[in-house]
Amino acid sequence: MSVIKVQNISKHFGSLKAVDDLSFEVQAGQVFGFLGQNGSGKSTTIRMLLSLIHPTSGQIEIFGKRIEKDREAILEQVGAIIERPDLYPYLSAREHLELFAKVRKKKIGEADINATLEKVGLAHRAKDKVQTFSLGMKQRLGIGIALVHNPSLIILDEPTNGLDPQGIADIRQLIQYLAKEEGKTVLVSSHLLSEIEQVANQILIIHQGKKMVEGVTKELLDPEKRIVQIKTTDDANVLKVIAAGRFSNYLLPRGEGVYLKIPTREIPLLNESLVKAEVALLGIETKNSLEDYFLQITSNA
């Protein structure tokens, strides 16, 4: 069952296309990794999911309901942190949770607030003002606010920003706990594949607002498959040859250059078919991992 269904959404700020015709689905119980460089459109997409930004076009359904029509019913079941953990410096951690508990339609008691403080490791600093908190503690309180009403869908935008290695490991553990033990659906964004690949079972990479690649993490990171870049002076002809043949399923989306994720044993066959088709081939370069591919597509822009 799809918890999130995004269909062809775009967001334009003047002439800038922040998100360009993006579609994806997140299934119930999934940890969905949303990857992209800073400025790739992740936060804009997340803000559209949360109805903070109005899409220029396209449609968003969460729990089978349209966000623009059933916003309040949807948001009752969603907990989110968006980018920085911006909070009220003059309030304590407990006061934050109490305030945000009050603006939920379900009854949230003292026990729920204490449990949330324990869950995010802030029970010992519950009475301290946020202005005395480190960035990591603010980030954890932000996650606490997202969890205090026990939502079914949790959206975490760059939740490990500013955290030390222990903090990053804690958040990773928390995400895994929420998905496995509590059956939550989690959408987590990051600009680091290494952070996402350990927790997400599905990955989507976007670049300049466009979907680059999407798939099951295990398959995308499959050591039996390699990402190769076909270097040629005539991309269009290569694409034509690949599209017509057996390798079309391996093609990865890319603005410039031709990339495939292909079983290692089939690389020679690919080479052979391109030579036979007499394309102007400069070489086939093997990438080591999805990380390489991710870095390649995001750094070449």
Partner: protein, 291 residues
């Protein structure tokens, strides 16, 4: 809705900035009361110097009622500036802090949040006015005692019996609440347009100063727009202290000289409040929350 208002009030009264206005009003009033207590007789003589030859006034001219009137004349011009500190920060302050997105991802519409914020800012404004009333009226009555209220207008004097004064102050403070809520709503509107607090606060203060100047200038061009400016009506609380007289030129107890003027002012101010708040709602509903 009430839970949203409670959240907003909690935030307002958790901030040290909120108490600046209460402190400033208390400090100003205490200084003026102290000055008048020490040197009030010479001040009263100065007030009466032009009419001493033609009129003899018995009793205590410088009583609590007159002190309150003097204080209101001085302070009701400046209190809007203090109101702007909070009202103009209600939305832009949260946008600047980045917390607006936390509020707008809760299961309540933006319209409800904007209304809750406006109501909370209005409660703050009313509390500020009550604080002003308490210090200016009741503390002055306690320090200076009560007697008939003797007011000198530009070309006539008004004498209101002491048992006819208190309800006029109640009326004046209720009227002042409309005037200050108009300022609150203006600050709120400017707050909805910005992502930092300084602009709307300065903008609200500038708008008050600008329109007050237009309201007071006697230039025919401005005369056309004056009736529609909120600043023209903000000072009409004074109308509660203009009294009708009978054929013998004796004051009619319980009367007000120009009730329609007060009613018109309340209608104009109310329309401004509705206009400013409605515009704020429309702006916020359409806005992309990027902060």
């Amino acid at each position: 809705m009430w839970s949203l208002i409670k959240v907003e009030l909690y935030k307002i009264f958790s901030r040290p900035r909120t108490y600046i206005a209460f402190g400033a009003i208390a400090a100003l009033i205490v200084v003026i009361q102290l000055g008048l207590k020490i040197d009030g007789d010479s001040y009263a003589s100065f007030l009466m110097k032009d009419i001493n030859d033609t009129l003899t006034v018995d009793g205590k001219v410088l009583n609590g009622y007159l002190i309150c009137y003097i204080l209101l004349q001085l302070l009701l011009v400046h209190v809007p500036l203090l109101v702007a500190l909070i009202a103009a920060d209600m939305i832009s302050g949260e946008a600047n802090l980045g917390t607006l997105r936390l509020l707008f991802t809760t299961p309540y519409s933006r319209t409800r949040w904007v209304l809750a914020k406006f109501i909370a800012a209005s409660i703050y404004t009313i509390l500020l006015l009550i604080w002003l009333a308490f210090l200016a009226l009741f503390v002055s009555m306690w320090i200076f005692g009560t007697d008939d209220l003797f007011l000198m207008k530009s070309n006539y004097v008004v004498l209101i019996e002491q048992n006819d004064v208190l309800w006029r102050y109640v009326g004046a403070f209720v009227f002042a609440s409309f005037a200050l809520l108009t300022v609150t709503s203006l600050g709120f509107l400017l707050s909805s347009l910005s992502s930092n607090s300084i602009g709307p606060i300065v903008g609200t203060m500038s708008a008050i100063v600008f329109f007050t100047i237009l309201s007071t200038l006697n230039i025919p061009l401005f005369t056309l727009v004056k009736p529609y400016l909120f600043t023209t009506h903000m000072n009409n609380w004074k109308e509660f202290f203009d009294i009708q007289v009978n054929a013998n030129n004796e004051a009619i107890t319980g009367s007000i000289l120009n009730i329609p003027k007060i009613k018109t002012s309340i209608v104009v101010l109310t329309l401004h409040i509705i206009l400013f708040v409605s515009a704020s709602i429309i702006i916020i509903k359409k806005k992309d929350i990027l902060s």
